[in-house]
Every structure is written in C-alpha cells, then in structure tokens.
Point group: C2
Chain length 121, copies 2
Amino acid sequence: MARDAALERRVLDVLWQGGEWSVRQVLAEVDEPLAYTTIATVLDRLHEKGQVQRVKQGVSWQYWAARSKDEALAAEVGRLMARAEAAPEPMLVAFLDQVERVDPDALDRLEALLEARRQRK
Amino acid sequence: MARDAALERRVLDVLWQGGEWSVRQVLAEVDEPLAYTTIATVLDRLHEKGQVQRVKQGVSWQYWAARSKDEALAAEVGRLMARAEAAPEPMLVAFLDQVERVDPDALDRLEALLEARRQRK
DNA sequence: GAGTATCTACGACAAATCGTAGTAGGAGAC
DNA sequence: GTCTCCTACTACGATTTGTCGTAGATACTC
C-alpha cells in the first residue's frame, strides 16, 4: 500500500491550486477519512524534500508548493529526457505518439506552439 | 541505497542492446563487482514484472527485453501524460521547453516529424 | 563414476520510501 | 483554568530494491 506516492501527489495537487494552505485546509480538501497527523506528516516530508515551502503563521504553518505544477511537469519531462540519454529522436516520436493517442487535436496545438516559439526566436 | 532502481535500469540497458543474454553475460556487461546471484535476482524480478522475457536454454535461461527502449520510453511518456490529467497544454509547453534545453536543433526535427505525421494522416 | 564448475530456486536481510497515526506538550480561546 | 488545536517526535507495517548465501540439480572433465 506504499510505493506509488499517491497521497503525496494528491496533497501536491491541492497545493497546486495556488495560495497557502494550513494542514487542516489540506485535510479538508483531500476529502478522505485521514488523520490530521497523516496530512501533517506528508506535508512535513514534502517540505524536507524541498517540494513545498512553508512559513509559520502564529502557531501553525502555512504551506505552498515550491514549484508550480507546470514546473514540476517540466522537471519530470527533463528527467525522462536525461534518462533517454539525449538521443531525442525516439523520444520525440514517443511523445508524438502519446500526444496523438491522448488527444489527436493536440497535435495541431503543438504545431501552433512550435510556430510561436520559432517566431519568438 | 534502495529506491532508485538504478541496477534494474542498468540491466535493462544491457538487454536493450538487443539479443538474448544469459545471467553471466549480463553480469560481465554490467561490469561491476556484483555477485552472480545479484544479477540473477534482478533479472528474475524484472521477469516477474513482465519487463523481460526468457526462455530456458538447456539448464540456463536466456533473457531479453520485453519491450524496446523506445517502447519503454513511450510508456513512460504516456504515464507522465496520464498523470498530467490530459490537460496537455502545459505538458506540451513543458516538453518543448525541455527539448529546446537539451537540444535546440531538435525543435526543427520535431517540426519535420509533425509534418510527416500530418502527411501520413 | 568422482570431482568440479555452473545454474536455478528460494530465502534473507538491510535500507529507503510511504501511508497512517498516536502521544506529548505548548499556546490560544473563553 | 479548562478545552481545543497545532506542532514535534516517534513509530510501525508494507513494499521496493540491492545484495547475497545456500542447497540441490545438471553438466563437463578425467
């Protein structure tokens, strides 16, 4: 029952909604019958890992995501790419395959983004 | 010292070179002072997880990767995309960012691939 | 055919990660 | 002062991964 980091991701998803959150607020938002301390522990561990930041507000902490969801996503992609050892060709193909599979229209949007990026440069 | 699956990946990298491998061959290729049984165990576990296949050759097994490196890569990308919950827009941007960072020229190749794909359809 | 080498099957153990929560103690609210 | 809430600390069990050891079967060599 432990190895997919599901709860950590769920908590991060809450924080990614933006703003600062107390443990209790996160607990309410996660909407699962979990103990207060469970969420507190998860937030604490995410803080140790540098994935969330926090500041003391009176007696309690306020937490927020250290990186936006998009940044986290980009980091994941980067890690994948690093693992693929640069050689991006198969990576590119794999990516297009997956994009197409999930959402065929996304290919058009991707092309638009590419175009925009080219202009910008 | 356990959680990054580094050895499993190293073993997979060996298998991805293609062909069938005995435990001993993999051990030699990995080129680390590890026990024979260490590699045997890793291969066994990868087999249990369906990541490698094997066939008995006399007394010993021959192993090979169940999926090519490219396929595994595509699966990873797919998993990432699923986690990003479809919303492919930030995913697309993140991807382009990373591609550009790793290899600016790859953007051109990506565009070519996109074009080709459009033709094909 | 006995001795040696080689494999596999099984089991183990330690470290790390993660889900989950209890307890103790402090600080504020009334 | 008592009640409530929060943090800090600790803990435990499951799972994953790295790393081997042992035992038993098979094969190769004289």
